[in-house]
């Protein structure tokens, strides 16, 4: 698919360039904005992978919430806009980053992706959910009539699920969350709640301070 290739390469360049910018740009505010670009590019990758629900959640959570918090923190703290001061950790940081990058490349090239395929096969529900084929068995095409296309709903399979690439993965993910993975899901929410309360407790001013 030529079109998808083009999009993939554009997104890749964007993501890598922007993430380099996040690290190299001195102005923290601009770095935070570049981080947003990285997140959006990653959302684009999700779209390419036909996981459009994940893409939207990526935008909603990472762009709409987390980046805003980062930007908020930068804006609220003064004396940052000039950029951080130079320190003597440049060489160490570069070394660590290079090592980590090399490790990632090494892992990528030496992984046996057939294992992953096997895992995917074994946990077909997850994979199916991400690609929107969860609980789907009807693959037949719709009828020839052009009148059908004036109906605004996307064509549906016999059991009510939608077919096609952009099909209904949302419901499938939801189903997974509250059926198969309900315990981890709830555990994460408890963890987040604990983190929030902890943050509040840390930030709280002692009464004698004020």
């Amino acid at each position: 698919m030529l079109f998808q290739d083009i999009v993939f390469w554009v997104l890749s360049v964007l993501a890598i360039g922007a993430s380099l910018g996040v690290v190299l740009v001195k102005d923290l505010f601009r770095a935070a904005l570049l981080l947003v670009v990285v997140f959006i590019a990653v959302a684009g990758f999700f779209v390419l992978l036909s996981a459009e629900f994940l893409a939207v959640v990526q935008v909603l959570v990472y762009v709409g919430a987390i980046s805003i918090l980062i930007v908020f923190a930068i804006v609220l703290v003064r004396d940052i806009p000039g950029g951080g001061k130079d320190n003597h950790l440049k060489v160490v940081a570069a070394t660590v980053a290079a090592l980590l990058g090399a490790l990632a490349i090494f892992v990528a090239f030496n992984s046996d992706f057939t294992d992953l395929d096997a895992l995917e096969a074994s946990n077909a529900d997850v994979a199916a959910a991400l690609t929107g084929t969860y609980n789907l068995d009807a693959t037949e095409a719709v009828g020839d009539e052009f009148e059908d296309q004036y109906a605004v709903a996307p064509p549906e399979g016999e059991d009510g699920t939608q077919i096609g690439i952009f099909s209904n993965s949302t419901g499938a993910i939801g189903g997974l969350f509250i059926r198969d993975f309900v315990l981890p899901f709830e555990a994460v929410s408890v963890l987040l709640l604990a983190a929030m309360i902890g943050a509040l407790a840390l930030l709280r001013q002692r009464e004698e301070d004020s």
Partner: protein, 419 residues
Amino acid sequence: MGTNFLDNSFFRNIYCNLSKSDDIRCSGGGWLGDGILPAGFEWLAFLITAVVMAMVLINLVLGSVLIFIWAERRLLGRFQSRSGPNRWGPYGTLTPVADAIKTMFKEDIVPTAADRWVFNAAPIVMMVPATMVLAVIPWGTGTFLADLNIGILFIIAITSLSTFAIVMAGWGSQNRYAMFGAMRAVAMLISYEIPMALSLLGVLMLAGSLSLVSVVNAQDVPFILVQPLGFLVFFIASIAEINRAPFDVAEAESELGAGYHSDYSGMKFGLFLNAEFMATILSAAVIVAVFLSGGRGWSFIPSQGWFIIKMIPVLFFIVWTRAAWPRMRIDQILTFAWKGLIILAFINVAVSAILSFVWPDPTMRELWFMVAINFGVLIVSVMAVGAWFGPQGASAPNMSHGDALPRPRPAGQPSGGDS
């Protein structure tokens, strides 16, 4: 490329003329025969078609922005016992055009202390969500750019991008008033996204899909009747999201000058203005699609016409409230969102969940039952939350009414008697 795009009749006509698509809906080719582009270039045909469609839609909406600006100014004039603009063109219709030309020719000033890149990028970023949301709105039967099955989530996610534009504008100006406006806007937008998303849950339960087209199709009874509480919360939250009165604290002209776009001039300011008006029109469009059954109506008017007819009262009400009500204070706005709207939205979610559990696949009669129950819930919950919210609002000491309102006493009377 998704096949769903081809459900759009305009899109299909252009696309099938351009490419030799093997899609079943292009089986006869276009009117021009078998497609102009050679095989293997379906992606190019897709791109060209998408760009053409986007151009048409964006320009239509920009045109409607001009009409809306004119209509708003005329209406505000009437509400204020004035005439409104009436000099340029018939009944002043060309006034926005004149304003646009004036805006374009104004000097583009960048403050010396400004962060140039951020400052210049902010208006562009501001336009992004306004134009992207366009894509998923079903303007009528078969008239949409894309029917994403995550349409509503897409809208909520994309509109959060405008927060960045506002922060960038406020930060880039290096102006304290702009910064104040930006901080207020961000706090408000983040707060109101939550009730906005929660209020749509009831709709999603009824429609069973996140796609706006399916939501429209599911509305045999408009959801404003079935989900009155959801509508109320969504309407208030979307007015807040588009920074309109009484939630226009981000550009509160009596406090901050012009808020986050204080330092902008010329066409950059024009872009901000344009994006705000586009957001107003688009939020009206979303309300129509989600709560007022979109383009559905009696068939003697085309569905696109119904859509526009239904948008008019929504926009009218938005302008009307702007004329009638003063601005709320930012802390009150946030209190209102967290202590009022979110509670109302949760009540709505709970009631809708119970109702859709009782009637998983409602018939018409059951739908009308739901209407009655939901209106009861609306009245009870609004009064309960209002009564609770009134005395407890953070810095809103007293919103009580009637006999409790203080009245001056004549000078002779001693104080402390009845007052």
